[in-house]
Symmetry: C2
Subunit: 189 residues, 2 copies
């Protein structure tokens, strides 16, 4: 998606091999027009997948997921991050490791908002090691939902996330795939 | 807003005098059509205020704030909740007490996304004691921004939030004002 790549090159701040700050348009200050274009792009790409719900993880995934769900005219379900295990019978939960924060968190979702055989599209802002998406897909499997696609705004394509998700036969569509990151260096595939 | 009130009466779960669960359409599973109507309503009400930015607090405020910012065609800025003080020179921060969780958190925002004299509209999902809105307004004051209005999806009108905000001369517009809450009881003003 050219509009997004231009924005990354213009406003993104590449600090090192791991960190690209995009807080001026994606996850702190949010460019609503860009986000609505992102939603259109995902909705168009996944339009034949008969999506029943868009699922995302709080909180940076919410804006692109909301824009996508609006275009697809389906509900969005926001999975929650907790600091510790909840052990609530009404919730699904799984432990996810965040490499960014070097810590585990518990990802949860209410059982009542995931129905058997629903077609689910996951939308998230970043894909790196894929732990968040894989945790989300574990919960979808508990609910016997069908994960029919993953839409990512910015993929760090030099990390293992895509490979791990595709190994499960899932289609991953990223709007910007970064092949190389370094201090003031951003290269796309 | 009748559509919202009907939804609250149909799907909201009033547990006691303090807790109204609206996780089937507002803050876990999100009804995107309702949320876009909410955005239109806020945008229409505040249309003459020359809004420069919509500000909200992660994470349940993001969807209604995004819908509102989209209608107003202005950026959204998401204030972040941290578990402890950050003491980062690039951030504004203030301590906010959450009565819901009976704990304090640190609310932060990047200095670079708030400019002097900008007209700011705060959007949030709930108003009860007003602590989150007042914390947000303290940060806006540090940045010398003009807080020109507060839009709330659901107000617990029997709590002190509105009074505390209005004392500062701020216009508070709530789409559903609940006068009484109890086990299976929801009454609007």
């Amino acid at each position: 998606m050219e509009l997004l790549k231009e924005k990354i090159l213009k406003e993104g701040i590449a600090l090192n091999e791991h960190i690209l700050k995009v807080d001026s348009f994606l996850n702190h200050k949010v460019d609503v027009n860009l986000m609505n274009e992102i939603g259109k792009e995902f909705a168009n790409y996944f339009k034949d997948k008969k999506i029943d719900k868009v699922v995302t993880i709080e909180s940076s995934g919410i804006a692109p997921a909301f824009a996508t769900a609006s275009c697809l005219n389906v509900p969005m379900v926001v999975f929650k991050k907790q600091h510790s295990s909840i052990l609530n019978n009404a919730l699904y939960e799984t432990t996810v490791h965040s490499f960014t924060k070097n810590a585990d968190y518990t990802l949860t979702a209410s059982k009542k908002f995931l129905k058997e055989n629903e077609n689910i599209l996951i939308i998230d802002d970043f894909l790196a090691n894929g732990e968040a998406v894989l945790g989300t897909s574990r919960i979808l499997a508990m609910a016997n939902c069908n994960l029919v696609g993953v839409g990512i705004v910015i993929e760090k394509a030099f990390q293992a996330g895509r490979k791990k998700i595709e190994e499960n036969g899932i289609d991953v569509y990223s709007l910007a795939r970064i092949s190389k990151l370094g201090e003031n260096i951003v290269e796309f595939m």
